[in-house]
Amino acid sequence: MVNIVFKFFIAISCLLIFRGLLAEPLLDGADFDYGEYLSGQCLTCHQSSSDEGIPAINGAEALYIAKKLILYKNKELENEVMQLVASALDKEQIASLAIYFNSLEK
């Protein structure tokens, strides 16, 4: 009986976390395929295996990527290349990139 209650508790927790993620406004409208296409622009510079000169972003948290891109878009983070890249991305594109890079292996 305890076991069943525990499983139920875990299931409810997972559901709430999942709903929480979906409800995250920064990731609204995310489209995995679109993210894969858009990632081509990032992969000209960002590598999966090295941080030399330019940070690796594969497997980073989706929210972390989205927030960083918004900071670059608002010019609150420095780097002309990233400000330029982010300035051309709308909300859906940022969300799509965020979930795509999150899905890649580090």
Binding site: L38, G40, Q41, L43, A88
Partner: protein
């Protein structure tokens, strides 16, 4: 029963269509075929993305004469002693091993666009459903009086990376004490707009250390150039009094060069050099000319897809294309390749096609830890690729930022070569 009959009918209809269509499909293969000519920043990227993203649904053949590709970008850093030669060489092995690309080391000689076939140097024909041409540039040897294929060992253009850059480096290292290095940059449009001026910086870097009384004279067929303020301020800061840049209005035009006497004659004066780098005018690689997809020296393209305006089955990428506002750079070619790859995949496998998005950044090294950059975003207009937004380094930014820009360029070099060859 009714459903089964309808399915049978559909299968029969499809089979009939295929049979009827057979004579027109020259591949004879179940998988659609893409042939890519040229394994540089445009071609290698296109081959890799089409093969990788179609997950085997498209048969991709890459035709490239060289077994090892030496990048044009960073070849100036080899010239200046910042990289060794092997570090700018790359193999195509991973494209076959990791993505199933059929890499054929041969020259593409001609294109029969009605039969959709590419003829190779070996005499073999390769059929395609879509053809991607990314042949880079050809040098117009006759654009400067006195210059020729033979002249290029005495006055190397070194504008296609590889052994010519080695020749030029040896010549600079062995230049007489207090001698003159002359540079004749190409007229617009040409591969790598900041390239001649980064090259001057790298030669100055060597001479400052090994031959400090030597001079550099730049006899330019243009009156202005890319990142001009940044380069000229950098030359004055790092190599004071060494570099003299003479614009076209001042020298009045380059009349001829003489590889025997090492002279460059202009309306103003005749310049005698100990070492001369002469970069003539350029045009699209010969195969683009041969395929009938050029207008004048370059290939006009449809901005949304990189298809040529002349033939919807043929795409042209990179230096050979008329990409309007986008410079002829490795970064641009790599960016255009992804747009073309997405479009080709959509045409051949019905995958989703997303709106074209282009970008470019060109990093240049002026001196040790002094990197500068220029970049832009682009969109596909109806007729042209158009600038959306752009930036350029500032002359008054600090040393720490310049060092960071150089380090960023190393990251980019590793990134783009991984994106092309991994």
């Amino acid at each position: 029963m009714h459903n089964l009959s309808r399915r049978s009918f559909v299968s029969f209809a499809l089979a009939s269509t295929s049979l009827l269509a057979m004579p027109a499909i020259s591949t004879g293969s179940a998988r659609p075929k893409v042939v890519v000519v040229g394994g540089g920043a445009g071609g290698a990227t296109a081959a890799r993305y089409i093969a990788k993203d179609s997950k085997g649904a498209i048969d991709v053949t890459l035709i490239e004469a060289s077994k090892h590709y030496y990048t044009c970008f960073y070849s100036n850093l080899y010239l200046g002693g910042f990289r060794d030669y092997d570090s700018i060489g790359h193999s195509y092995d991973n494209l076959s091993a990791n993505h199933g690309v059929n890499v054929v080391h041969d020259w593409a000689i001609s294109v029969d666009s009605s039969a959709r076939k590419v003829r190779l140097g070996s005499g073999a024909n390769v059929s395609y459903d879509r053809l991607v041409l990314s042949p880079g540039i050809d040098i117009k040897y006759d654009s400067i009086d006195g210059y020729s294929v033979e002249a290029q060992t005495k006055m190397p253009h070194a504008w296609k990376s590889g052994t010519q850059v080695k020749v030029l480096r040896d010549q600079v290292l062995n230049m007489p004490k207090g001698g003159t290095f002359a540079m004749v940059p190409p007229p617009n449009p040409y591969r790598c707009p900041p390239g001649p001026y980064e090259r001057i910086s790298m030669v100055a870097h060597i001479l400052k250390e090994k031959n400090p009384t030597a001079k550099i004279v730049v006899i330019d067929p243009k009156n202005k150039f890319s990142k001009q303020g940044l380069f000229m301020a950098g030359w004055e800061k790092h190599y004071p009094g060494m570099v003299e840049w003479i614009d076209n209005d001042t020298h009045g035009g380059i009349k001829n060069v003489n590889p025997e006497t090492m002279e460059i004659e202009t309306d103003l004066d005749t310049f005698k050099a100990d070492v001369a780098c002469v970069v003539p005018a350029q045009r699209a690689g010969a195969i683009a000319m041969n395929a009938g997809v050029t207008d004048g020296d370059w290939s006009p393209i449809v901005p949304a897809s990189m298809q040529t305006k002349a033939d919807g089955n043929i795409y042209v990428l990179g230096d050979a294309s008329v990409a309007s506002a986008m410079p002829k750079s490795g970064f641009s070619a790599n960016s255009q390749a992804k747009v073309a790859a997405n479009h080709i995949r959509g045409e051949l496998t019905d995958s989703r096609v997303f709106p074209a998005k282009f970008s470019n950044t060109c990093w240049s090294l002026v001196a040790t830890n002094d990197g500068i950059k220029v970049g832009a975003n682009y969109k596909a207009g109806e007729e042209k690729i158009e600038v959306v937004d752009k930036f350029v380094s500032k002359t008054d930014e600090g040393n720490a930022k310049r060092k960071k820009t150089y380090e960023e360029s190393i990251g980019w070099y590793n990134g783009i070569t991984t994106d092309m060859f991994s």
